[in-house]
Assembly symmetry: C4
Homo-oligomer: 386 residues x 4
C-alpha cells in the first residue's frame, strides 16, 4: 500500500515492535524440543543473543560470563575499558553524576585517549577464560585496532557506527576501506548499523560476516530527535533479511542479520526473529543484571560525542542476575527476565523447532492500545489508595 | 486492504475493542423484548456470560451464585481450591503480599500439588446447589481430571491453555489426544484458547462443544510483552466466528464461540457479540464483586508458571454485589455494572431481539481519541483544585 | 478505502474532531463580511448555535439570555425545572455531592415526577421575554408534552433520545408515532439523535424540521463505554448532511442538520460546519458561563437512568460570561470563548461568506500529534520548576 | 491513497514531523564536507535558519548576533520594539505576569500604537552592525511600513499573517495589493503563511522573493484549537516545494520555500529540508538562548489579538548561548542545541553535500511510538526513586 505525504510524494510506511504481534500457529511444539543455536562467524552460539558494546553493559567480566552461558558480549574498544587502567573509578563518576551534569561529565571522561596496550590486555583477559571474544570499534579506528585484536586472538571484530555505508566521501581524510579489512584482516568482521536492503546487500558483498540492523529505534538513542533519522526495527529487519536471502540465493553464502537496538522485552526479541533476524543484540536488558558494570545505568556509544552528543544515561535498576535475565527462572512477569525461556515458549506456540522456522511464523499489525494501559494503570492507582 | 511491513512482506491488520464501535440501527427495539439466552453444551444459559477460571474470581460459592443468576462460573481445577483444603488462607497471603514479592509468593503457593479428592469435593459442593457446574484444567491434566469430573457429575469440562492446537509435538511426553477426550469422555468439552480460523475449525472438527477465543489481549495478561504473541479480540472473534459458520454450513452442527480475555466494560462485551461471539468470558469484571474470593484482586492462570510467569496481580477494588455487576441496577456510569442491562439496551438500540441478530449489527472503525480523554481529565483536574 | 477487521468482514473507518483539520482557501474574506445566520423551523437565527437541553446548562434564564444574543437554548422538559418548583435547591445538592455519591444522588432527585403545570409555567417564563422558545423531551413523553408546549406557545419542540429511529418495536407499550406528531401537532419538531444516512433520511421523510446528529461522541457521555455504541462526529455529520442534500434534491425541502455532542472548542464547531452541519449544539461550553445554573458543573440527560446510568457530572469551572463565551471578546486562547468570533475568522480564512459556503471548504485528515502535547507540557513543567 | 471520512467525501491525509523519519542513504559524506549555505533574496546565507519575528525571541541585539553567526533574525514591526522606546519594561511585565492574567496583560501592552520613528530607529540599530536586516509586518501595515524600511535600508521585508492569500475580499477597507508591493517597493518581499500548492504558486506569481509555509502546526499556536484550521508541516512543505519546482520549470525563477512553525528539535528541522524546504524558521528554539529578550519565555504574534487571542506564553527556560544553540558544541542530547551540527551530520548520513541534495533524501512514515516513551519514562521514574 502506498502513502502520499504530499503532492506526488509517495513514501513507505515502516513498523516498529509495538505495532506488530505474532500469531500462534496451527501446530504447537514442546519448548524443550526447540533448538535455538545459530552459527555466527564460523562459531556455534548456543544462545542467539549478543550484548551491546556499551560501557555500562559489557566489561570483560560480563563478556566472560555471557560466553559461559552460551551468548556473546561485545566489548567496546573505544570506551572506558581501553582508556583507563581502572575503568570502575570513571564509571562511578558517571553513575553518581547529577542529571543536569551527566552529559558534560561523560564528554570529559571520554576525552582520555585509548591505549593500545589496554586493548590487547582486555582481549587477553577474556580469552584466557576460553570463551569467544568479540570486540567493537568505529570505522576510523578499525584498520589499526583489528591488528591488535588479531594479535590478542580475539574471535570476532565488530565495526560499528550509527550509520555505516560501503561508500563514504571525505575531502580531509582517507576513507576506510571496509572491503579490504574484511578480506585481508584474517578476522571475521561484523559491520553495522544499516537499515536498508541496498546497504545490507553491499555490506554482504564486500565480505561482512554478519550485519547489524538498526538506526534510531532505541530507547537510549536520540538519533531521531537530533538528526531526524530512524527506521523502526520490524521494517528494517524484514528488509535486511530479504537482502540476506537474495545474497544467499545468488552466492550460497549465508550472512546472518542481527537486529540491534530498541529491544526491551523478550516479546520484542521474539518479534525480531519472526521479522527475519538470525540473532539479536541489546544492551538495556543486560544493564539490569547485578553483575553489570553500570550498576543499573547504561548510556549510548554516541553520548560522549563532543559537538553533538546523542543518547542519555538511563537508570534501569538492578533486577536479577545475568543468568536469571538470560536463562531464568524469571521472578518478574514483564518480559525482562528469562529471554531464552521466552524464546523457546514462543517457538513452541508457533510450532517452530529452529530459529529458521521461527522466521516463517506469521505477524499481524496490532497496535498496542494505549487506553488498555490507561485502564490498567487506573486500576492500579485505585490499589495504591488502599 | 493489505499492509506491507517490509520488502514483499504483506501482513494483515488486526483490531481490538478500543478501535471499533457499534453503529445504531434503523429499527429500535424495547430492551424488555430482547432475548439474551443462548445454548451451551446442551444447556440453556439465561445469561451468555461466563466467569473465568481464575482463583481470585471463581470459588465454589461464586460458581453457585452465578448459576442462580443465569450465568456460569468456571472453577479452576489447577488452582488453590484443589491444592488446599483451606484455600482462603492462601488467598490471604497473595492479597496481602507486597508488590515486589507477589510473583514469588504466588509461585510458592502453587507448588503445592493438586489433590484429586479436592477436585471431587469442589464439584460436589457446586452440584448440590442444583446449578450447572463447569470446571477447567490444562491439556496435560485433562485425561485424568475429566474422569473425576464425570464421576462428580460436573456438566461441562473446559480444557484451556494460553495457546491450544490439535497437533502438538513433544519428544519427551505422549501428547494429549484432544479428539479422544471429546469423543469418549462423555462430558461436553470446551477447548481454548485459539485465535485463528484454522485452529478454531480444527477444534470443532475434533468435537469441541465450544471454543474459547483470545490470546494475549487481556489486561491481566502479559503474553504479548513476554512472548510477542497476541491477537486483538475483535479480529480473532470475527475469524473464529467465520469458522463456526463454515462448520455449521458443512455439518449442521453449531459450535458456539466464546470471546475470552480483554473484556473490561459492558461496551467491550457488546462489541464481542457484534463481532460474532455467542458468549463472552471475563474475570476482572467479576473480581470487583464483594463476594469475589480475591477481595478486589485477581491474577492470571499463567502467573504461577515457574520458569516464565506471565500476568500480574491486579487490584480492581470492590465496587458492588455480584448481582449488581451482572443484572444491575448500576450505581456507576463507566460500564462496569449491569452487564445484562447494557447488553439489552445495546440490542434495543441496534434493533436486535436475539444474540444471533446482534451478531449482524454493524461495526465501524472508530479509534478512541486520547485527546478527548485528556480534555476530560483536564476538566476534572480543575474540579479537584476546587 | 475498505478495511477488513477479520475474514471477509469489511467495515468503514469513521473520523472524529481530533483527526481532521480545515485547510485554508485560496481566497480570504474580511470576517466582518461574513453572514452566519441560518434558518431553523421557519425562524432566522442570528447565531447558528444551540445550547443542549441539560439541566446544568439551560434554565429559563439562560434560554432568555441566549435568545437575546441571537442563539437558542433548549429547555429540558424531563429535568429538574419541571419536576421541582424550586429547582435550584436540587441543583445545589448535585453540585455539592461527593464524587462517589453523585450518581446515586442524581438518580434520587430525578425520581420526583414531572408536573405538567410546571412545563406550562417554564415556557411562559421564557416567552414573556419575547425570545424563541425551544423545549425538549424523550419520545415516550412527546405526545402529551407537545400539547402543553403548544398551548404555552413554545416555538420549537425537540424530541430527543440517545438513539432515535422511525421504527420501534415493543410488546408492552404502544409505540410513539413520530410522523403523526410531526404532521399533526402544529409545532415544528426537531428529532434526534441519529448518526446514519438512512435514519436521518427517514426522519426527514416523516416530517422532522431538523435532525440532531450524534451518538456517543461526547465527553460527558459514556454511551460508548457502557453500550459499545458510538460514531465519531465528523463522519456522522458528513453522512447525515448527504441525506439532507438528497432529500432537498428530491423534494425541494431543506431540513437542517444539527451536530450535537462532542464539541468542546470553537475549532470543533468550525469543523462541524465544514463537515456539513447547518447548526451546532453543545452543552459543556455553556456550562462554563457564570450565568449557568450548574455553577461550573454539567451532567448528561442519560445520567439519572435508574438501571443503567450513563454520563458523569463534570466540573468545567466558571470562566466568563455567557456573552464572552458566545460573542467575545475572549480572555483565553484555548478556543472556549468567542465562538462567534472564531466562526467568522475561520470563514474569513477559508473565504466563505455564508455557512453554506463554509460547508464547501476542504478538510484533511491530520491527527493531533500527542508528542507535540508532551513537548509542550514538558516545557511548561520546566517553567513550574522556576 | 484516498480516505473517505463519510459518504462520498474523500479527503487527503496530511503528515507532521512526528509521523515521518529520514532513511539513511547508500553513501555517506564527511559532515565537514557539507555546504549548508543558501541564497535568499539575492543574499547568501551561511546558515539556512531564520528566527521568527516574535517579541520574546528577536530584538535588535539578537538580530545582530544571528547575522554575525550566518543566520537571520526577523524583527517584528508590529511588536513591542516599535511601540515602546523602552521595550524591556514591557517584556518584564509579560514575563512576570501570573498565568491567569497573562493574556489580558499582553492584550493591554499591545494596545499602545506603533511609532513610525521607532521602526526607522530599530532598523538603523541593526544595519549599523553591518549585518542583513529583515523586518516583518502584517499585510494591512505593509504599504506604509515598507517605505520606512526602505529608507532605513532594511534588506528584506516580510509580510506575514496567519493565513495569506493573493485575493482578499472586504466591503469596508481597500485590500492590500501584494503584487504592487512586490513589484514596486524596491525591496525583496517574503510572504506567508500559506500551506497549499495553489496559494504558494500564486504568491510566487505576484513576485514574492520567498514564501513562508505553515498554518497551525506550532506548539505556541492554537490556531487549530480555536479555528479548526491547520495543516501538518511535512505535507504543506512538500506541496509548496512542488509549487516552487513547477514555477522554476516554467519561469526559470527559483523562489525559496521556508518551513515556518512547529520545529522544536534539530530532527524536525532536518525533516523539513528532506520534505523540500530551502530554509527553516523557528522561534521557540531561540527563546532558550540566554541572550533572548523573553528570558526563557515566548509568545505568538496572534496572542495580543483583542477579540480572539491565539497562542500562549510558554516558558522554555534558558539552556545555553545563542551560539551553542546554533553552532554548538551541544551540552544536551535532545536536539535543542547545535542545529547546524545536526544538519551537517544528517546530511553526512544521507550522503547529501548541499541542501538541494538533502531535499532528495528518502522519508518514511514511522510514527513515534508512545509506549516506547512510556517505557523510557518508567525507567527514569525508577531512577528518581533512588
Amino acid at each position: 500500500m502506498a502513502f502520499f505525504i504530499g503532492r506526488d510524494k509517495e513514501v513507505r510506511r515502516a513498523y516498529g515492535f509495538d505495532e506488530v504481534a505474532i500469531v500462534p500457529g496451527s501446530l504447537t511444539v514442546d519448548p524443550e524440543d526447540t533448538d535455538i543455536s545459530v552459527e555466527l562467524c564460523g562459531h556455534k552460539l548456543q544462545v542467539p543473543i549478543l550484548a551491546s558494546a556499551m560501557d555500562g553493559v559489557v566489561d570483560p567480566k560480563i563478556a566472560i560470563e555471557l560466553g559461559k552461558l552460551g551468548a556473546l558480549g561485545v566489548l567496546n574498544l573505544d570506551g572506558i575499558y581501553t582508556r583507563y587502567k581502572n575503568p570502575y573509578e570513571q564509571i562511578e563518576k558517571i553513575v553518581s553524576a547529577p542529571d543536569d551534569k551527566v552529559t558534560e561529565i561523560i564528554q570529559q571522561i571520554y576525552k582520555e585517549p585509548v591505549k593500545e596496550e589496554l586493548i590487547y590486555e582486555r582481549i587477553k583477559e577474556i580469552k584466557k577464560e576460553n570463551v569467544l571474544c568479540a570486540v567493537s570499534t568505529i570505522p576510523q579506528n578499525a584498520p589499526k585496532y583489528i591488528q591488535i585484536a588479531k594479535q590478542a586472538k580475539a574471535d570476532i571484530f565488530v565495526i560499528q557506527a550509527t550509520v555505516v555505508t560501503v561508500k563514504h566521501y571525505s575531502s580531509s581524510y582517507g576513507c576506510v576501506d571496509l572491503e579490504k579489512i574484511c578480506k585481508e584482516s584474517g578476522l571475521p568482521v561484523i559491520i553495522g548499523n544499516c537499515v536498508t536492503y541496498q546497504v545490507a546487500l553491499q555490506l554482504m558483498e564486500i565480505g561482512a560476516s554478519a550485519v547489524l540492523v538498526g538506526v534510531g529505534p532505541g530507547a537510549a538513542c536520540t538519533t531521531r530527535q537530533v538528526l531526524g533519522i530512524g527506521v523502526p526495527q520490524i521494517t528494517s529487519t524484514v528488509d535486511c533479511a530479504r537482502a540476506r536471502d537474495f545474497y544467499f540465493k545468488k552466492t550460497g553464502k549465508y550472512v546472518p542479520v542481527i537486529t540491534d537496538g530498541g529491544i526491551i522485552t523478550s516479546g520484542d526479541m521474539c518479534k525480531s526473529f519472526v521479522a527475519g533476524a538470525d540473532l539479536v543484540m541489546f544492551g538495556s536488558g543486560f544493564a539490569k543484571a547485578k553483575e553489570a558494570p553500570g550498576k543499573g545505568y547504561h548510556w549510548g556509544m554516541a553520548m560522549p560525542h563532543f559537538y553533538l552528543p546523542r543518547g542519555a544515561r538511563i537508570y534501569v535498576g538492578t533486577t536479577g542476575s545475568l543468568k536469571e535475565i538470560l536463562l531464568g527462572p524469571s521472578k518478574t512477569d514483564d518480559g525482562t527476565q528469562n529471554f531464552v525461556g521466552a524464546l523457546r515458549t514462543c517457538m513452541g506456540n508457533v510450532g517452530a523447532r529452529r530459529i529458521k522456522e521461527l522466521q516463517l511464523a506469521q505477524l499481524i499489525i496490532a497496535p498496542e492500545i494505549k487506553t488498555e494501559g490507561k485502564r490498567y494503570q487506573k486500576e492500579q492507582r485505585v490499589g495504591m489508595g488502599k
